[in-house]
């Protein structure tokens, strides 16, 4: 095998067990600006992340090139890095799961469609964005990206796993202007079946998003009934569910310590980790340690079902890994692969009707700055609309929403039916929150 050299050197230098994660990616990005291809990018890259157990401790190193010199480098760095480690975490290289539920995340047809056809689609999108409404003063850009990724895990126990994924995304961004007020909007279509692309529909979605914000002004600062768009709910839930990581729990920094079997959200909320979801191009059938992934509820009808585990965190608690080992730089952390909020029955329009008077929050910005993931407290720049008499009303200009994630999750009174797969693989719907502090004027 191509990587035998690495495993041979590792053994020779006293590494007890070793693993190599190989990821190769070929990507194409095309951007249009003012009627011409402004940027055309071809990415052909690889990443080789090696780890091994030396004197009972994990050491790791990574490189984006593999050859015999680099194999030697990886092994030496594993040894030197392992030598300084002092934590007592169990170090485990996985022998393999009994069964893997392989899921197809690769579409042959995507690569067969000509580049010209894809470029034609971009030109068509830019044209539609310009002509729908005269208040669209600029098309900031339209982009097409296509990515073919292969992820493999090889280890000294003989485990060999490979998953191939491909997907495209098509996006457009516009600037709308009216009476000196400027607003922007952006939308993205993701998938691996290019025949699903509907340029006209995408263009209208983007333009309508921008136009709807014009004429907006700050609302009165107070608590409102609120509908959160799928993207906003996803942003909140991702931070919240991080607390189900066994690593956070073991390190005393989780809001879910001692909460298994207890209520952590409203009864309306069921959130699953669904790495084996059909039709989701980001599905993963093994994790970054080679453990088979599976679908599982994290929160069911508001009740925390259990923690998510990697091999090391599972060994510490005397349980088995849940297939949630995820590589974070040099270390395996714990995280869900594809969050899925179980949808309800009401359409978004019905949610607005149910709220009657309130706000609809479509976007939050600066999550890294305005969200304290540790405490759950947040104060975020937001975009949205007033809901008046059960219908969307004028846009809201320069507002914040603030609160605590625990309260938001407990205040959800309805989950919508408008499920949407988002970039990265999470699937969320709109929700109604019974009260949310909005800061405006």
């Amino acid at each position: 095998m191509k990587y035998d050299k690495f495993f041979a050197i590792a053994k020779e230098k006293g590494i007890e067990e070793s693993e190599l994660r190989v990821s190769t990616s070929y990507a194409l990005n095309i951007s249009l600006f003012h009627g011409e291809i402004s940027q055309y990018t071809v990415e052909d890259g690889s990443s080789y992340t090696a780890r091994g157990i030396f004197n009972g401790k994990f050491g790791s190193a990574s490189s984006d090139v593999y050859n015999s010199k680099k194999a030697e480098f990886l092994v030496d760095e594993i040894v030197n890095n392992a030598k300084v480690i002092q934590n007592e975490d169990p170090a485990i290289i996985f022998k393999g799961s009994e069964k893997y539920h392989k899921i197809n995340t690769f579409s042959k047809t995507l690569g067969e469609i000509s580049i010209d056809k894809k470029i034609e689609t971009l030109f068509a999108l830019e044209k539609r964005l310009k002509e729908i409404d005269s208040r669209i003063v600029e098309v900031e850009g339209v982009d097409y990206s296509e990515d073919v990724t292969s992820i493999s895990i090889f280890n000294s126990h003989g485990l060999k796993l490979t998953q191939k994924l491909n997907y495209y995304y098509l996006s457009g961004a516009v600037v709308a202007k009216e009476n000196e007020q400027v607003k922007t909007a952006y939308e993205i279509k993701i998938g691996n079946d290019f025949s699903e692309v509907n340029v006209d529909e995408l263009a209208h979605t983007i333009v309508n998003k921008a136009l709807a914000q014009l004429g907006g002004e700050p609302c009165k600062s107070k608590k409102y009934k609120a509908v959160l768009a799928p993207e906003v709910m996803a942003a909140f839930a991702s931070v919240y569910v991080d607390h189900a990581s066994a690593e956070s729990v073991q390190k005393q920094s989780s809001l879910f310590i001692g909460k298994v079997g207890q209520s952590v959200a409203s009864k309306k909320v069921t959130i699953e980790d669904k790495p084996l979801q059909k039709g989701n191009v980001f599905s993963r059938w093994f994790d970054d340690e080679g453990v088979a992934t599976y679908n599982k509820a994290i929160i069911k009808k508001g009740v925390l079902q259990g923690y998510l585990y990697s091999l090391t965190t599972a060994a510490k608690d005397g349980v088995t890994s849940t297939g949630n080992g995820a590589r974070h730089g040099s270390k395996i952390g714990v995280e869900p692969f594809a969050l899925y909020l179980k949808p309800g029955k009401k359409s978004q329009e019905e949610l607005f009707k149910k709220v009657k008077d309130g706000v609809y929050i479509t976007e939050v910005q600066g999550l890294h700055a305005g969200m304290n993931g540790q405490s759950g407290n947040f104060s975020l720049q937001s975009t949205g609309f007033l809901i008046k008499d059960g219908k969307l009303d004028k846009g809201l200009d320069v507002i914040t929403i603030s609160g605590n994630l625990v309260d938001v999750m407990n205040d959800i009174v309805e989950v919508g039916a408008d499920s949407k797969i988002l970039l990265g693989g999470n699937t969320f719907s709109s929700v109604i929150v019974k009260k949310l502090a909005v800061g405006g004027k």
Binding site: G366, G370, S375, L380, G439
Partner: protein
């Protein structure tokens, strides 16, 4: 990494279909890092970046690609793929390369390649031991980390220039999670430098920095929630410059400004700020976190005046985006690594000293907010709408700093805020950060003296300010 002969061959192959510029960006870098969690060494890592980026330009069009196959054949294959984007006749042939000379303001004195992991760990322990010795039961998790990089870049371009740039930089970080019956709070400090490791022992007191991180986390456990509404806000020096970075720095990058996509597009010569505001982006400050001797297009680092006495006078410009205004780049072309196409970016961006003092500003404020610690933020350059989060803040009453508050987020529109800055002090300082944008995550310094914005919207959970 490759010979000049191969570089000539690759560039000429790339130029054969009519590109008016071609550039090879070769990189062989290594990043290492160590972290100590709850007093024990938890991770030690080594990551290399080895590859080649090839950029072709034709008028306002860019074609970019990268590969990790650095053989002659691998690079010629990449050139052959990329040149297909153009279908014209050759207009340019490269015959030689002249070395670009630039001042070496950031010399490598003692390379991180010669510093052992043990020495790095001992350095971190100066601060980490101080935290552990407190034995404060409210401190539930601590992570002390150090990351250090050696970057080795060689560029050949069709302007017949070549240069090799070796840079090193290191950053220490202390992160503390504190908890009590009310919940969790965190504290963070992350000083960095382009000078060698001695900076952390000779110029900084890591013990004080680590203990200050604990102080902020513990203070926030007890602090009240920040009130919400429009109020005067005094922004502390140093890291407070993140406000200018977001609200004004990004919209002044040629990549948005020269494309007509910024709230400051075509406003040069206009009064865009209060006359007390002058601002600069300066990549020539020796050893500073955001400094560069020579940019990715071979232009030397420069001091760029952005705003002078309230008037917009300059931008961060790279050669490519400069084409839209018939301007040369001013040394602002940067990228994270060979995987990214370069564009105009900031370096050390700051508001210059004014004539007031910090004390005068506080004394002159009847009721408002004083913010001294920040989490970072983001901006939409087209609308100018920005946000940034505060990690340490106090209420100011009758000219005095009073109780601490937590959870404040400042939001607004950059072009409005600049006009509302009404007092600027004389205590300029810098803070080190990583800035993420189109060409990846790069080192940037933010900076400013203490200043006051007469009115800005503060988001918080504490109700009305009284």
């Amino acid at each position: 990494m490759i010979s000049k002969k191969v570089a000539l061959e690759v560039l000429n192959e790339a130029l054969s279909t009519g590109a008016d510029y071609a550039e090879i960006f070769l990189e062989d870098s290594i990043a290492r890092g160590v972290s100590i969690e709850n007093g024990k060494v938890d991770t030690s890592s080594s990551v290399t970046a080895t590859g080649c980026g090839l950029r072709l330009l034709k008028e306002n069009r860019t074609v970019y690609g990268y590969t990790t196959d650095l053989t002659r054949n691998g690079l010629l294959k990449l050139a052959a793929t990329l040149k297909k984007s153009f279908d014209g006749e050759r207009i340019l042939t490269v015959t030689k390369f002249d070395l670009v000379k630039a001042k070496n303001r950031n010399p490598i004195i003692r390379s991180y390649n010669d510093v052992s992991r043990e020495e790095i760990i001992s350095l971190l322990r100066i601060g980490d031991d101080a935290i552990q010795e407190l034995k404060d039961p409210r401190i539930v998790r601590t992570i002390s980390s150090f990351s250090y990089h050696h970057r080795d870049v060689t560029v050949y371009n069709s302007k017949e220039r070549w240069f090799r740039r070796q840079t090193e930089f290191g950053r220490a970080a202390y992160m503390v999670v504190a908890a009590n019956e009310k919940g969790f709070e965190t504290g963070f400090s992350g000083p960095g430098t382009q000078t060698d490791i001695s900076y952390f022992t000779k110029k900084l007191n890591l013990k004080d920095i680590a203990l200050d991180t604990v102080r902020v986390a513990l203070q926030n456990l007890e602090a009240k929630e920040c009130p919400s509404g429009v109020m005067p806000v005094i922004i502390g020096n140093g890291w407070g410059g993140v406000l200018f970075h977001e609200s004004c720095g990004h919209p002044l990058e040629a990549s948005s400004s020269f494309l007509g996509l910024s709230c400051f597009s075509d406003k040069n010569g206009e009064m865009i700020a209060n006359p007390v505001v002058s601002a600069v982006d300066d990549s020539t400050i020796p050893g500073e976190w955001g400094s560069i001797d020579i940019d990715d297009e071979g232009n030397p680092g420069q001091k760029r005046q952005l705003i002078k006495d309230g008037v917009l006078v300059g931008n961060m410009i790279d050669d490519f985006n400069g084409r839209r205004k018939n301007m040369e780049g001013n040394g602002a072309s940067r990228r994270q690594n060979y995987k990214f196409c370069p564009t105009s970016r900031m370096s050390n961006t700051y508001i210059e000293n004014g004539k007031s003092t910090k004390e005068e500003i506080i004394k002159a404020t009847k009721l408002g907010l004083y913010t001294v610690g920040f989490n970072g933020g983001s901006v939409n350059p087209a609308t100018g709408e920005f946000n940034f989060g505060c990690s340490e803040a106090y209420i100011v009453r009758d000219g005095k700093i009073c109780e601490p508050v937590k959870g404040a987020t400042l939001i607004g529109k950059g072009f409005e805020i600049l006009k509302d800055i009404d007092m600027v002090a004389n205590d300029l300082a810098f803070g080190q950060g990583m800035c993420g944008a189109a060409s990846g995550s790069i080192r940037t310094n933010v900076g400013q003296p203490t200043l006051r914005i007469s009115k800005v919207f503060v988001g918080g959970r504490g109700g009305e300010l009284k």
